[in-house]
């Protein structure tokens, strides 16, 4: 619904007046830079930039223009300035290669900066080697579509791929971000829709957001990022059908949730992460229809979480299904499929007749005594697991799935 409003809004976004001109920028002609073209243009004009390489030291777009790159012209800041700043609404920027913004610790230099604007579309650009890729500050109704953003992979001097600060109703669709600090970073960005993006091999987080309420994340893939995905201090988010894959290493998480409330996490795939979901101080979260496959820990739920529901998920091939650091209260597991479940189903209704306890005795031992992790996969640990299944009452934690599924859920 929200996206619909944004899309309808965009229909009215570029009123093309009949008297609009088209200005052509090409190397060696009268109008040889984008800056000149912007100075010549009036609101509503179209600027067409022909193939070539242009030096662009913070070209400021302060008019309502449609700027189209033909055959991907290059805008290069040669590490001296920002490349492009858009300060006017109703701008469309399409089809450029934007590269080499300045780096620095005092200012956040960006490839494309949008500042205090509405109804802008940034599409089909390739951003290479910028400090920050696309930087949106205090914007509304922006579309960022199908951009390919590659950072410098420099640990000390690297900004975020797509950076949003104090924004509202932004659509990010089909972008690819790699080698930046955070792939996609949100701070105070509300009511945004993030879909079909691919974020991999970023230095820190694939996706990182704070204080960004009411956002929806759909069909994104976060793969092999330095610290996985981290989401903090946010209310009412929905994470649907995303894939979190191969975020592997010590203290790296598929998703780290910290002080998240009223979130919906549905239909996601967590594959080969050290920790699938890590939850801290997170309340009223529903986790349904997700697949947890071959993770170290499928989920780590700290005792500070409350009223969370885990239903109809598949847990397959994880070293540990669930661990915690204390006593879990008001955490509900129901109707999940656990590959380690060895119960029976006499009445053939598809759910096991005895409950499954996802927190194993050995997981508890490790919790109290981290060194005992060195006994992992030894005979005695296998023995403990078997004994535990034979005598479930020795499992110390009361968390249990009363109706474990006998067969995995199918999508």
């Amino acid at each position: 619904m929200r996206s619909l409003i944004v899309k309808i809004g965009l229909l009215f976004m570029l009123p093309v007046p009949v008297w609009a001109h088209t200005i052509i920028v090409a190397p060696g002609t009268k109008v040889a830079t984008l800056k000149q073209a912007v100075t010549l243009a009036k609101n509503g004009d179209t600027i067409r930039v022909e193939k070539g390489t242009y030096i662009s030291l913070n070209t400021i777009v302060d008019k309502e223009l449609t700027i189209l790159g033909q055959n991907q012209p290059v805008l290069d800041a040669r590490f001296q300035e920002e490349v492009l700043t858009i300060t006017s609404g109703h701008v469309k920027l399409d089809g450029f290669i934007i590269k080499n913004s300045k780096t620095g610790s005092m200012r956040d230099f960006a490839g494309i900066r949008l500042s205090n604007v509405e109804f802008v579309t940034i599409s089909n650009n390739i951003l290479v080697n910028n400090f920050f890729g696309i930087y949106l500050s205090n914007c509304k109704h922006i579309q960022v579509l199908h951009n390919h953003i590659t950072g410098s992979n420099n640990i000390e001097n690297s900004g975020n791929g797509i950076h949003l600060w104090k924004c509202k109703e932004i659509l990010l669709n089909g972008n690819y971000v790699t080698r930046h600090r955070d792939g996609i970073y949100f701070e105070f960005a509300k009511k945004c829709l993030i879909e079909n993006n691919f974020s991999e091999k970023n230095i820190r987080y694939g996706l990182h957001f704070m204080f960004s309420d009411d956002d929806t994340y759909r069909h994104n893939t976060f793969k092999n990022n330095g610290s996985g995905v981290s989401v903090m201090y946010t209310r009412r988010i929905a994470m649907l059908d995303n894939t979190f894959i191969e975020n592997w290493g010590s203290s790296i998480y598929g998703v780290l949730l910290k002080e998240i409330t009223d979130a919906r996490i549905e239909g996601n795939h967590f594959i080969r992460n050290t920790t699938g979901i890590y939850m801290e101080n997170s309340d009223r979260i529903t986790v349904t229809h997700n697949d947890f496959i071959s993770n170290g820990w499928a989920m780590r739920v700290l005792a500070s979480c409350n009223k969370d529901h885990f239903t109809q998920n598949n847990y397959k091939g994880n070293s540990f299904d669930v661990t915690t650091n204390g006593t879990l209260k008001e955490i509900y597991f129901n109707d999940n499929y656990w590959d380690k479940y060895e119960g029976y189903d006499l009445n053939k209704d598809g759910t096991g007749d005895i409950p499954y306890r996802p927190i194993s005795l050995y997981a508890q031992i490790i919790e109290q005594n981290p060194q005992s992790v060195m006994l992992m996969r030894s005979f005695i640990v296998n023995l403990i697991d078997k004994v535990e299944r034979a005598i479930p009452s020795i499992t110390p934690e009361s968390v249990k799935d009363e109706k474990p599924r006998m067969k995995p859920w199918k999508k």
Partner: protein, 255 residues
Amino acid sequence: MLKIAKYIILDIVRSKVLLAYTLLLLAISLTIFLSDADVTKGLVSITTVILIIVPLVSIVYATTYYFNAAEFTEMLVSQPISRRNILLGKFIGISSSILLAFFIGVCIPVCLFAFSATGITLMISGCLLTLSFISLAFLTSTITRDKAKGIGLALMLWFYFSIIFDGLVLMFLTLFADYPLEKAMIVLTALNPIDLARILILLQLDISALMGYTGALYQEFFGSGIGIVFSLLMQMIWIIVPLFFALKIFKKKDL
């Protein structure tokens, strides 16, 4: 010495037990690799199985064979051959035939399906584990004269190293939980050849990420050159020391 080894190898290779052991290992490796598309997971499963079966078969088979060939030993002793050569010949004979079984049963499938650093670690650790348990078998066989007692002792040793030892470690960790035990754990690991093999393989499997601080410490130690040398050295000690004592006993033993 080598002549004795040759006789023993020829004798063992013809026996059905070794063939059965080879086929068992081969069946396990092939089933795991063929049924699981993920090679790493296959290696983990094979590790778990190998760490139980290889020591058990090595120690029990070597002990049984030693006692069954007691008359052959007596005959050899009456010949002008030094006792040292007799025992070492036997050791080389038995160990090379069991290693052959391990080679066919595990090394070949691993080379075919999962030839990697982990696979190589698995193969080397498996070989060293076989050798150290045969060496322990020689110790138990020379200590007692009675076959039943010898085999019983061998089984006890296996039981100790694969279960009781880890149980004791777990107890030790719980009792002294308030102390920093990381270094002590490395020492404890070195006291058990099975643990040593298991941890070497696990660290190769990139599973150390799961192990938090302790895992990182282990990775730093066992992943470094010194650590690898240390663990190989410890494995060698587990082969040489029992054999050395067996030799000492055998030299003075009244057959």
